[in-house]
């Protein structure tokens, strides 16, 4: 579980996150939604410590992340997996090498155990063995995302962060990625936080949804609650798409 308490973040005097508090629960896919520029990525990166918050507290279970020094943060980050928007796979190493990298860096496994773990992770995200030795530039965008997920779960993380995992993917592949993240979350009982503005993801896996607008928490609930909500900003955002608007009318 990750708890945010009154998070404030400013850049050059501009308040990007204004007093945000929420709880991201374990074993659930927690979605952060909002328009482009609403502060989703800043919230995600602040939770990870890539940006220092101006005030407020971030708790990873019972550990206060904001009070930790760099060394303690480094240790905690070994419990964290992250899937970046563009995949962020290392260009100079193969698909297999990318998944093995965190194991080489931090585990004490034998080479055979590492190989087994790499194969287990890549198998879980449905990557064929033929692709193991290819470089990231030789595989499709959808496969890159799946390899990024495999790398993120290699060290068995307690916390999984995904920054717009579906961006640039076709709807079918996007659904596969969503379902994959949800399955892994349940299977490994991770606290998963997904940053998205893809409404299909909200409908598919929105077990807990946080809607932020102009850096403020605007609404919070489940995907089922969205249909019952009378929050105008949320409605404008979610039902901007005619299809979803018609769905709401028909409930």
């Amino acid at each position: 579980m990750i708890t945010l308490k009154n998070i404030v973040k400013t850049f050059d005097g501009n308040t990007v996150l204004n007093n945000i508090s929420t709880v991201f629960e374990q074993g659930k896919t927690n979605l952060i939604i909002g328009r482009s520029g609403s502060g989703k990525t800043v919230l995600l990166k602040s939770t990870l410590g890539l940006f220092e918050v101006d005030s407020g507290e971030i708790w990873y279970n019972d550990r206060n992340f904001t009070q930790m020094n760099q060394k303690e943060r480094k240790i905690l980050r070994r419990e964290v997996g992250m899937v970046f928007q563009g995949g962020a796979l290392f260009d100079s190493i193969s698909v297999e090498g990318n998944v093995r990298f965190p194991l080489d860096m931090f585990s004490k496994m034998s080479p055979a155990e590492k190989q087994k773990r790499v194969e287990f992770c890549l198998d879980h995200v449905n990557i064929d063995k033929q692709a193991f030795n290819l470089s990231p530039s030789e595989i499709s965008g959808g496969m890159q995302k799946r390899v990024a997920i495999a790398r993120a779960i290699a060290l068995n993380p307690k916390y999984l962060f995904c920054d717009e995992p579906n961006s640039g993917l076709d709807p079918e592949t996007a659904t596969v990625i969503d379902q994959l993240i949800q399955t892994l979350t349940k299977e490994f009982q991770m606290t998963t936080i997904i940053n998205t503005h893809d409404m299909n993801s909200v409908i598919e896996i929105g077990e807990s949804v946080l809607f932020i607008s102009h850096g403020q928490k605007e609404w919070e609930g489940t995907k089922e609650d969205i249909l019952k909500s009378d929050n105008q900003k949320l409605e404008d955002f979610i039902f901007a798409n005619k299809l979803y608007a018609q769905m709401k009318k028909g409930q």
Binding site: R77, M82, L89, D91, P102, D104, M105, F161
Partner: protein, 246 residues
């Protein structure tokens, strides 16, 4: 942003670069990769440039010393001393700043803008150390070897070109390059090459590591890195020459 901001941030980056590595084995593997990528792959261009410059200098020395009062050995001596003192250390460092420096900036800069560096940080890896330390060690390690290769092929270039151009015979040239030889010149230039190697790796790494934006900014950072490295090489050349040679 001011000059002092960059100086401060550069040294703060170096502090992170020289922090204790997470896993020595991975760093050593990375070091060998960098020695191959930045050092061994530069040998060809060093040989080509040195052969041509050695040949050109021999012809120019012969031309400017076309006076019967000057001993003909001065052509070999001039070529040798120019290679030993300045060309094979300083000029080569300037050339390497263009080749190796821009490579380092664009590689690290691209990793920054594609979030690969963020990815390392989130894994708990000291990205500055993992990416930059092997490059610095590799370049500092290979620069003295490149210096020696450059001197050798520069002298060879002069020896081949001199007789072909009809300006000096091989025995006169060999006699010239042995005349009034001070071994300290080599020590002096090897010291310089260590300094220059450090600059050629660390300054472009700094510009790449802190790049912000996209592909355009990576390109601009590469240009800035090469220009600033060249200025620093010339500045330290002046300081080191004053301290060690006079």
């Amino acid at each position: 942003m001011g000059f002092f901001f960059h100086i401060g941030r550069y040294f703060s980056m170096l502090k992170r670069v020289f922090a204790r590595p997470e896993k020595h084995k991975l760093y050593i593997r990375q070091l060998f990769h960098e020695i191959d990528n930045l050092g061994v792959n530069s040998v060809g261009i060093v040989i080509i440039i040195s052969v041509f410059i050695g040949g050109i200098m021999t012809i120019q020395f012969a031309y400017s010393m076309a006076n019967p009062l000057y001993p003909v050995e001065l052509v070999g001596l001039g070529t040798r001393d120019t290679l030993l003192l300045e060309f094979s250390s300083t000029m080569l460092a300037l050339i390497m700043a263009g080749k190796v420096g821009s490579n380092i900036t664009s590689e690290i800069g691209t990793m920054r803008v594609t979030e690969q560096i963020d990815s390392l940080e989130i894994m708990g890896v000291n990205s500055a150390s993992y990416l930059i330390l092997p490059k610095i060690i590799a370049v500092v390690f290979v620069f003295p070897f490149l210096y020696i290769i450059s001197v050798f092929f520069g002298l060879l270039g002069g020896m081949v070109t001199g007789p072909i151009a009809g300006v000096i015979s091989i025995p006169d040239y060999i006699s010239g390059i042995q005349w009034l030889f001070y071994p300290y010149y080599i020590t002096f230039s090897l010291i310089k090459s260590l300094f220059f190697g450090f600059l050629v790796a660390s300054v472009p790494a700094y510009f790449g590591y802190y790049v912000q934006g996209g592909a355009l900014e990576v390109g601009k950072a590469s240009t800035k890195a090469v220009v600033n490295t060249n200025i620093l090489i010339l500045f330290f050349d002046l300081i080191l020459t004053r301290l060690l040679l006079t």
